[in-house]
Structures are given as structure tokens and as C-alpha cells.
């Protein structure tokens, strides 16, 4: 993955945040035993104590040195804790005692110490981490040989390998103070017996304390301290995304081209980075020239980049106007300290004319070292194969045409030479020159000028048949011919360029017009987003994606071609673009490791989201000349979004009014339907107290049942509207369903005869028995309420080619014309219907809700003879259980 050096990385924030609130760690780092780390730590501790800080000593090893012991006096000592291991008692730091004591600062000697088995943590640095987690600052000491990453290095020249190591991460989270004395002085102290020698070192004592070793250790310690400072500063820089050169460690940037020598450069850069203990990045600067690379050159470049990646480099491809510009910008971004470039393969005269990349780099880079390396001599030289393509030199056919025109001109002049003056023949030659210059460009024009003057000279100027010129006047003619060729070609070329420009802006205008047409025809936000993605994708031949903010970060809402997996880095880029209103991703200056380039979509309400672009070939991005068009398209898109938002708000306002109306209808309906039976029940009970009567008890029961049914319907309706119906679909016998429904509605249908018209061979249907039952109950209730008294209610079941229809037919006023659909709306009670009939307006809405949840349809229409309403549940063929395997059954 690509390391993008100039962005606030989440990890950097985390590291910073983790440090806040935690205790700080200061490490006194020494090159070797005896340099006075403990002494330094105690002195520092004493200063802190004198400054009013609550300091205690966790562990200090004085090794019997008097000066050191003297410093302990005055400090509070936390008694060590005895750990018994294999019969031996070993004193270890008492971490619980320190935690309970809660000092501001604790001094803990020997960071690399290994605790006795049975202690809380195996290593002392883990104890220290726990203390820091509790918010206690810690001072500690360590020698450079204990640092994990340097363990090998130290062992290689001191021949002493220590087993107690401290992870580098501990050092990176700490402030480091190097306790340094010159090697000579240390050797002096050793001779005076002032140095405590660790057990591992006694064998190789003299070797370990040799001056060369001590010098090397000292250098390591100093460098490690510098590295830690650098890492912390980098975190700070990354967390705050500061630009500028903060280099403290070395960062090598190698610029790669498609040239054969590039792999050699990569290896050289790797060696340089290793030698400097630095990080390195391989970068390819993509310029206009890159568009003209042949396939094999592209392949070679990709291989070189892959090689760099394998060797541990971060890689980047940066589009820029020129190699120098790109490299300068990248060096700044990456805070490079060293730049490696290859020796140019261009001829000397090219650099004389255009200036060399090296010169310009060195002039502009200030304090960055530039290494110019020759290519690998052992790399096989591959022939550069160029595909034939139009360039500044034009097609060979151009020259053939030019030549033909000159030949024709020469032939015509030969014929006319009898009649015209020699000087005018030169004018004839202007025709092919201007023709070539205007049609084929500068080079062809020059070619025509040169050829014409040669032909004029050869065929017409005396002595004819040679290229010598006798008359100086005629030399002038030749130069005039050439001059005309040059001037005409320049003008023609400019005109052509303008024509090309005009053509492309015409294309842009057409694109914009088409784009806005597409956008205005989109009716919803989703449609609009898809239209934007599809159009941009078509116009720029790229992949396009649109993201809107959500609780879990940017979310893909539309894409063309469909795309929903974005890498984390891409999401980070999208998020950044969203937060900052600036482009991010490949080709921008932020999070360039993302394959996508994200542009924010700015509307009048702020940033709506981002649009991302990517090429099929992830290494490429939008060309710089496409950016203005993209920007105007995005402006169009923003306007379209604003329009849509406005429309939606108006729509919302309408819906809100409608909802308000419905709510008041609901309130009046609910209060009426709940209160009516309650009132009846209360007054009946009141009456009953005085005169008990069977009839009143019946009333009571009826009203209670009505209330029960209403509450049940209300609950059902809430479930339908919340979409919370869980279906338990099983094969159901319509006979069961109908007879159960008829049984349950016998009270509301007491005045009606129920006629069942269900053929015995009706198939089973796959429905949720309970929901289906409620559909039927509500239809029967409805019939009982609206049918004329003493008329029959019919339940009909019919097979149709499309499935099966179950109808409830009553004889009554029927449904008012044109209201067939509306009867199923919530709280609709049709005009002319009587409130006293006690309908809630919920029943039919429940029928529709339940039926649709099961994949059934409901219709209402009027029955003609006898007149009345007919409600039909349509069971589609897919819901019918096809013929049962009778044999399997038996």
C-alpha cells in the first residue's frame, strides 16, 4: 500500500489520543553500563520533587555506589514485594502499592528487567505500562543494547547478546534523554571500579568496553534517540497535517521513468535508504509525455514499480505538468531528504535547449540532496519499439502528398516557363508550401519549403540541373521560400490548435447540455444520483461513484458501473473530501494512495456528498484538461440536487398536512369508538346495581366484545403499518378458514343467513392461517354492518385461470361509484354510511394490509343482482398448493 505522507492519519490521532490522559514515560538511555543513567534519573527526580511534584521511588539499583545512594535520601521509597520462586525469595517492585499510593511520578530503574516468575507481568516495562495507564508518570533507564531492533546489531560487534529486550514501541511512546559520557571517561570509570557489570558482559568484558565498541554504542544511542524524537514529531505532524520539511530521519525518493536503467535506480535507492536507515518511496511522475508511451514501455514501468514495492518502497504515481514540477511537489509532500534520479538518456543538445531536469531540480530543491546515478550497465538493453502514430512529425502520407504537390508544381512551371519570368516561378512554389504547412503542420511545411527551394534551384535557377546558384539574387528567393514556409506553418498550426480547442469546447458544451437534460428529468434523489454517475462515466470513460454521509461514514449510494466495495483508504479519502470540501484521492494533494479521486458536491445547503472517479487502469486518473469540465458538471449536479431538495421539502410539507389530517381523523375515530362501548358498559353496570337483569348482562357482554375486537383491530393495524407482520405460511383448507370465520362472527351476523358456496374440490392455499382468518372476519363484519337487515350474506369461492377468488357478497347499499379503491384506506368511512353502525374504519384497511403481506390481492366492487357490495380476495396461482401426492400421503 502506498504511504501518503501528508494527511492526518487515524493511527496518528489514535497514538496522540492514547497519550493524552496517560502517564508520560521518560527514558534515560545510555550507551553502556556505567554512564550514570540512574544517577541522572535520581537527579532529575529530585529536581521535580523540589518543584513540588509528588515523586516516589519504585525501584532503584544503586549497585552500592555512594553518590547514587546519597541521592535516594529524601525520596519516598515504595517497599519491594517479595516473590517466592522455587524456594528463593526475590524482591520485585510492588506495583499494587504504587497504584494505591498514586504518586505523580515514580522512578523505576532498569526498564528491561525481567520479573521473577509469579509476578503480575513477566517484564518490568509491562508494569510501567500499567502505571502509565493509571495516569502516573514514570522515569526509567535502559541501555541501548536492550532495544529490540538493535539487539542484533549490538551483538554483532560486541559479541555480547542480551536476552532482556524492550520493544521499540515503548521507546517511541517515551521522551528520551541520552545520558552520554565520552568513551575514554567511561573506560576510566571502569578501571576505577565504578561500573557495575551485568552478568552477561563479564566474559567479554575487555572486548565490550573497547573504545571502538563504546563509540559505536554511543552513536547507536544518539541515533535511536533522534529516531524516537522523529517518530513523535511525525505523529504530531500527521495528526495536524502540517506541511513543510520536518525530516529528522532520512527519506529517499527515487524518480522512475520507463527507461531501461530504472531497475538499477531502484536498487541503488534501496541501498541508499538502507545505509541511511531511512524510508524510501518510488515515484513516477506522469506527464503529457506518459500518454505516448508504448505498451512495452508501460509494462517496463509497471515492473519497475513492482520491484520497488517488493524491495520495501512505498510507491506513487503523480500526475504533473512536468517531471520537475511533479518531483518538487512530491518531495515536499513526502518530506524527502534525498532524491535519486537517473542520468538522462537525452542527447546533450536537448538539455542545452530545454535545460536538464537535474539542473532545475538542484536549483529548486534547496536543502534536499540530489543523487544522479547512471543506469545499470548489466541490464539488457531492450530496443525501443514505437508504434506508428501521429505526432508532431505527422504521418508519412503527409510527406508523400507534399512531395506530389511539389512535383506537380515543378511540372506546371516547366510548361509555363516560356511565358513567365523566372522570379514568378518562385511564387508558384508558395502554393505547395502553404498547402503543406496549412494542412499537415509545421514539420511538413518546413519539408515543403526545403524541397521546393531545392527543386526551384535544381530545375530553374541557372545553371539548371545543378544545385549551385550563380546569381546572389536567387539565393534571396530560396530564403524567402523557406521563410514563407516557416511563417505560414506557424500561423496554420495556431489556427489548427484553435480549431481543435473550439471543437473540444463544443464537445464540452454538448456534454453539459446533455448532462443537464438528464438531470432535470430525474425525479428522485436516487434517480438523480444514478443519472450523474452514468453520465459522468460515459463522458469521461471512467468509473464513477457517489457517496453520501451516513452514521457509519461515507456510503456508496450510486455507482456506474455498479460498485460497492471501496477500500478503507478510499473511504478515508471520501470522508476527507466530505469534511473539508476539497478534492481528495489520486491526483489530488490528499490521500493520494486511493485509487479514486473524490470531489465534494457543494450545494446551497453545504456539502451534500462526494463523487469519486477512477479509471479502469487504477494508475491513471482524470486528465488535467478534463478537470474544468468535471467542475462544471458538478455545478450542474449541485443545482439539480438543490432543485430536488426544494421539491421534496414541498412534498414533505404536503404530506405533513395530510398526516395531520389523518391524525385528527384517527383521534376522533378512536375516541369515539373506545368511548361509546365504555360509556354503555359503565351506565349498564350502574343500572345493574339497582335492578339486575339478564338483558343488561347481554348488553354488557356485547359491548365488551366490541371493545375487544376494536382493540385487536387497532393492534393489527399498528402491525401492518409498522411492517412488523411475521408470516407463518402453511397449507390451509379454505373450509376450515371460512367455517372458523363464520363461527367467530356469528354474533355480528345474527341478523343474516350465511350462505356458503364453496365447491368441495377447492385446493389448499398457502397463507398465514391467522392473518387470513382476520381478513375473513373483517369482511364478514363489514357485510354484517352494511347489509340490509334480514338479507343473506354469501361466501363464494371460485377457481379462475389466474388462481382462486374468495368473495363475500352482501345485499345492501353497495359502494358509492368511484370509491372502490378508497374503501381500503385507513379510517375511510364512506359518505352515507352511518356512524351508529359502529365501524371503526379500520377493518378493510386491515384486510388489505394482511392480504398484501401474504401476497394476495383484494378488490371491492358492486354486485348487480341482487345489488350490494362484493369484496374479493384473490389468491394467485403461485399461492395455491398444487396436487398432493396421494401415494406419499398413504
Amino acid at each position: 500500500m502506498n504511504e501518503s505522507p501528508n494527511r492526518p492519519t487515524p493511527e496518528a490521532f489514535l497514538r496522540q489520543a492514547a497519550q493524552e490522559g496517560r502517564g508520560r514515560l521518560k527514558i534515560f538511555l545510555g550507551a553502556a553500563p556505567g554512564v550514570g543513567k540512574t544517577y541522572e534519573m535520581l537527579t532529575d527526580g529530585r529536581h521535580r520533587r523540589e518543584a513540588g511534584v509528588d515523586v516516589v521511588i519504585g525501584v532503584v539499583e544503586t549497585h552500592g555506589r555512594k553518590e547514587t545512594e546519597a541521592l535516594i535520601h529524601g525520596h519516598e521509597l515504595i517497599a519491594r514485594q517479595a516473590i517466592v520462586y522455587q524456594g528463593q525469595s526475590i524482591d520485585e517492585m510492588d506495583i499494587d502499592a504504587i497504584l494505591a499510593r498514586r504518586p505523580q511520578l515514580v522512578l523505576v530503574d532498569e526498564l528491561a528487567h525481567t520479573n521473577a516468575p509469579g509476578s503480575r507481568h513477566p517484564k518490568r516495562y509491562q508494569d510501567i505500562e500499567e502505571l502509565r495507564d493509571a495516569g502516573i508518570d514514570v522515569y526509567s533507564t535502559v541501555n541501548i543494547q536492550h532495544v529490540e531492533s538493535l539487539n542484533d546489531v549490538v551483538a554483532s560487534f560486541t559479541r555480547v547478546r542480551v536476552r532482556e529486550t524492550v520493544p521499540d514501541s515503548i521507546l517511541e511512546s517515551a521522551e528520551i534523554e541520552v545520558v552520554d559520557i565520552p568513551p575514554d571517561e567511561l573506560i576510566e570509570r571502569l578501571k576505577d571500579g565504578k561500573v557495575y557489570i551485568p552478568a552477561e558482559a563479564t566474559r567479554a568484558l575487555n572486548h565490550f568496553f573497547s573504545k571502538s565498541n563504546l563509540t559505536a554504542l554511543r552513536e547507536l544511542a544518539l541515533r535511536r534517540a533522534a529516531q524516537a524524537v522523529d517518530a513523535q514529531m511525525l505523529d504530531y505532524v500527521r495528526a495536524h497535517a502540517l506541511a513543510g520539511n520536518f525530516a529528522a530521519g532520512e527519506r529517499v525518493v527515487v524518480a522512475l521513468s520507463e527507461q531501461d536503467s530504472a531497475p538499477g535506480l531502484v536498487r541503488a535507492a534501496k541501498r541508499l535508504a538502507d545505509a541511511l536507515h531511512g524510508t524510501w518511496t518510488a515515484v513516477h511522475i506522469e506527464t503529457q509525455r506518459s500518454q505516448n508511451l508504448t505498451d512495452s514501455e508501460r509494462d517496463r514501468l509497471a515492473e519497475t514499480m513492482a520491484l520497488a514495492s517488493r524491495l520495501g518502497a512505498a510507491t506513487a504515481t503523480i500526475p504533473a505538468a512536468t517531471v520537475v514540477d511533479g518531483l518538487l511537489a512530491f518531495a515536499e509532500d513526502a518530506r524527502a531528504t534525498q532524491i535519486v534520479i537517473g542520468k538522462s538518456a537525452r542527447p546533450w543538445w536537448f538539455e542545452l535547449r530545454y535545460g536538464s531536469v537535474v539542473d532545475r531540480l538542484v536549483r529548486n530543491l534547496g536543502d534536499i540532496a540530489v543523487h544522479v546515478l547512471p543506469g545499470d550497465s548489466n541490464m539488457p538493453i531492450q530496443p525501443r519499439v514505437r508504434s506508428a502514430r501521429p505526432g508532431r512529425w505527422g504521418k508519412p502520407a503527409d510527406y508523400v502528398w507534399t512531395l506530389a504537390a511539389i512535383v506537380a508544381c515543378t511540372a506546371a512551371s516547366r510548361l509555363l516557363i516560356e511565358f513567365i519570368a523566372l522570379g514568378n516561378v518562385a511564387l508558384f512554389y508558395l502554393v505547395p508550401v502553404m498547402f503543406a504547412a496549412a494542412t499537415f503542420g509545421l514539420r511538413a511545411g518546413l519539408f515543403a519549403g526545403l524541397t521546393s527551394s531545392l527543386a526551384y534551384n535544381f530545375f530553374f535557377l541557372p545553371p539548371t540541373g545543378t544545385l549551385t546558384v550563380n546569381n546572389p539574387e536567387n539565393v534571396v528567393s530560396i530564403f524567402v521560400l523557406l521563410g514563407v514556409a516557416i511563417v505560414t506553418s506557424q500561423f496554420a498550426a495556431r489556427v489548427r490548435a484553435q480549431a481543435v480547442l473550439a471543437q473540444s469546447s463544443a464537445r464540452q458544451n454538448a456534454a453539459l447540455a446533455g448532462f443537464s437534460r438528464q438531470l432535470t428529468s430525474s425525479g428522485s434523489q436516487e434517480e438523480l444520483m444514478h443519472a450523474i454517475c452514468a453520465e459522468i462515466s460515459r463522458l469521461f470513460d471512467c468509473r464513477t461513484v457517489m457517496l453520501l454521509p451516513s452514521r457509519d461514514g461515507p456510503q456508496v449510494r450510486a455507482a456506474y458501473p455498479p460498485e460497492n466495495r471501496l477500500e478503507d483508504i478510499e473511504k478515508a479519502a471520501a470522508q476527507w473530501a466530505m469534511d473539508n470540501g476539497q478534492p481528495a484521492g489520486r491526483g489530488s494533494s490528499t490521500l493520494t494512495a486511493s485509487d479514486w479521486l473524490f470531489h465534494p458536491l457543494q450545494t446551497t445547503r453545504g456539502i451534500l456528498g462526494v463523487i469519486g472517479f477512477a479509471r479502469e487502469d487504477a494508475n491513471e486518473t482524470l486528465r488535467s484538461d478534463q478537470i474544468p469540465l468535471v467542475m462544471s458538471l458538478l455545478d450542474q449536479a449541485s443545482i439539480a440536487f438543490d432543485r430536488l431538495t426544494l421539491e421534496e421539502e414541498m412534498q414533505d410539507a404536503r404530506q405533513l398536512r395530510e398526516r395531520d389530517r389523518l391524525r385528527s381523523v384517527l383521534l376522533s375515530s378512536v375516541s369515539h369508538d373506545l368511548r361509546t362501548p365504555l360509556t354503555t358498559i359503565l351506565s349498564t353496570i350502574h343500572e345493574l346495581r339497582r335492578t339486575p337483569s339478564e338483558e343488561m348482562l347481554d348488553t354488557l357482554e356485547g359491548e365488551a366484545l366490541r371493545l375487544n375486537r376494536f382493540v385487536a383491530n387497532l393492534l393489527d393495524m399498528v402491525r401492518v403499518e409498522a411492517g412488523a407482520l411475521s408470516l407463518r405460511v402453511e397449507a390451509t383448507d379454505l373450509t376450515d378458514a371460512v367455517s372458523a370465520a363464520v363461527h367467530d362472527t356469528r354474533k355480528s351476523l345474527a341478523d343474516h343467513e350465511v350462505i356458503l358456496d364453496i365447491p368441495p374440490d377447492m385446493p389448499l392455499v398457502r397463507v398465514d392461517a391467522r392473518l387470513f382468518h382476520h381478513c375473513l372476519i373483517n369482511l364478514l363484519d363489514n357485510a354484517g354492518r352494511y347489509a340490509d337487515p334480514d338479507t343473506p350474506v354469501r361466501i363464494e369461492c371460485r377457481r379462475t385461470p389466474f388462481g382462486l377468488d374468495l368473495s363475500v357478497v352482501d345485499e345492501g347499499p353497495g359502494i358509492p361509484a368511484g370509491k372502490e379503491e378508497r374503501v381500503f384506506d385507513t379510517f375511510t368511512r364512506l359518505e352515507g354510511s352511518d356512524r351508529s353502525k359502529g365501524g371503526t374504519g379500520l377493518g378493510l384497511a386491515i384486510v388489505k394490509g394482511f392480504a398484501e403481506a401474504m401476497g394476495l390481492e383484494v378488490f371491492a366492487k358492486n354486485n348487480i343482482a341482487p345489488f350490494g357490495a362484493r369484496f374479493t380476495i384473490h389468491v394467485p396461482a403461485t399461492t395455491i398448493v398444487s396436487d398432493i401426492d396421494e401415494e406419499a400421503m398413504q
Binding site: 397449507a731 383448507d733 376450515d736 372458523a740 391467522r770 406419499a888 400421503m889
Partner: protein, 230 residues
């Protein structure tokens, strides 16, 4: 009957307990009450009730958990009391061994009828019901004969198996699973549609009006129940 039957009401609503208690006391049952699962289990052990009316919504534990415990520790007939929506819960309880269920809200007549059915099944449990008569339909389980209005009705073995199972405990609901386990013991996957078709052909043969079945009643989404004999 010299001994009064003992009914345990398990419900956390005092009003409901009082109402049921009044109805049962009037019908001369001895009634004890429990307001939560813990007390219920204690009373099941200590008082050995004949019938337990168990509400599934208890404050201290899921009523469903109690079903197997009560069935394992006593011989009481267990009737589940639960809300209308909880079809799934009722089926689970019945399959776990509960004997019957009542849907809230219910009236006391229905309650008393269920208790009566439960007690009758309980009395006949050891020997089983040997023969019964529902209207003009007669079933002799010993002779494996079914008579409708005095005429022999011919049933296929599967039809008879279902009918006999329902007839063994008339008035009590038998779940789909219980029937299918009994009739198609070797089918690993149950097909409710087989059962529906079987019941339909059975009704054609034994019901007087197969469009309005009176003898084999359907319990929505739960199972079937044979109408109580006269």
C-alpha cells in the same frame, strides 16, 4: 364424588386470579393461587393439584420453561392461558406436554368447559376412552368401528389413525405435530397439506355438513379438536 378437585391458578394479575377463583369455587373446585413461577412450582410439589391453569407471562420466569417441569413433577393436567397473538407459543407449550390452552380474553363458561374436559380425560386416562358418541356419530375404539346414523363408515387406515387419536381425548386440542408424528412416524419432514387433505376426506365421511364441520374442529395454526361428546 366425595373429593373436590384441586385447581392451581398461576397468574400475576390479582384481578384475573380473583375472577377465576370465584368461577371455579362456584363450580365446587378447591382453588389455590400462585402469583409467580417460584410459588407455582412450590405449590405443585406441596399441594399436588389436579389441574394447573398457567399464564405464560410471568414476572419471574418464562412460563414455557415451567411446562416440562410441572409435567415431570406432577400428574396435573396443564392448561395454558395466553394472549390471542401467541400462536407459536401455544403450539410450543402443547408440544412440550401442556394438555390444552385458553385464549385471553375468555369467558368463565369456556374456562369451566375446558376444566371439565380436562378432568374427564384425566379420569379416563388409565383405561383410555373405549367408545364415545357425538350426536349420531358413534366411535368404538376397541372394535375400531365408526358408525354414522347407524351405518358403518369405511375409513382408510390413516383416516382412522387420525380420528382415533382425536377421539382418545375428546374436547382437547391435538397439535399438527402430534398428529403427524403419530400418523406419519417415518416422515422426517412434515407436510401439513397431507394432514389437511386427510382431514378433509375424513370430514366428507363423518360430518353431516362437511362445509360447516361440527365434529372435527380446527384450531387456527395449532391443531384439531374433536367436539366433546354429549
Amino acid at each position: 364424588m366425595t373429593l373436590r378437585h384441586k385447581v392451581l391458578i398461576v397468574d400475576d394479575e390479582p384481578h384475573i386470579r380473583r375472577l377465576i377463583q370465584a368461577a371455579l369455587a362456584r363450580a365446587d373446585y378447591a382453588v389455590i393461587e400462585a402469583e409467580n413461577g417460584r410459588i407455582a412450582l412450590e405449590l405443585v410439589e406441596a399441594e399436588r393439584p389436579d389441574i394447573v391453569l398457567l399464564d405464560l407471562g410471568l414476572p419471574d420466569r418464562d412460563g414455557l420453561e415451567l411446562v416440562p417441569i410441572i409435567k415431570a413433577h406432577s400428574t396435573a393436567t396443564l392448561i395454558i392461558v395466553s394472549a390471542r397473538e401467541a400462536t407459536e407459543e401455544k403450539v410450543t407449550a402443547l408440544d412440550l406436554g401442556a394438555d390444552d390452552y385458553l385464549t385471553k380474553p375468555f369467558d368463565t363458561n369456556e374456562l369451566l368447559a375446558r376444566v371439565r374436559v380436562a378432568l374427564r380425560n384425566r379420569l379416563g386416562k388409565d383405561g383410555g376412552v373405549a367408545a364415545l358418541k357425538i350426536g349420531e356419530l358413534e366411535i368404538d375404539l376397541m372394535k375400531r368401528k365408526v358408525m354414522k346414523a347407524g351405518k358403518d363408515v369405511h375409513l382408510t387406515p390413516k383416516e382412522y389413525a387420525v380420528f382415533a387419536q382425536l377421539a382418545q381425548f375428546p374436547g382437547r386440542v391435538i397439535t399438527h405435530k402430534q398428529i403427524m408424528d403419530h400418523v406419519w412416524p417415518n416422515e422426517s419432514e412434515h407436510h401439513v397439506e397431507y394432514l389437511r387433505v386427510l382431514i378433509r376426506t375424513l370430514r366428507q365421511k363423518i360430518e353431516f355438513d362437511p362445509q360447516r364441520p361440527q365434529i372435527i374442529g380446527n384450531e387456527l395454526g395449532i391443531g384439531y379438536r374433536l367436539q366433546s361428546p354429549d
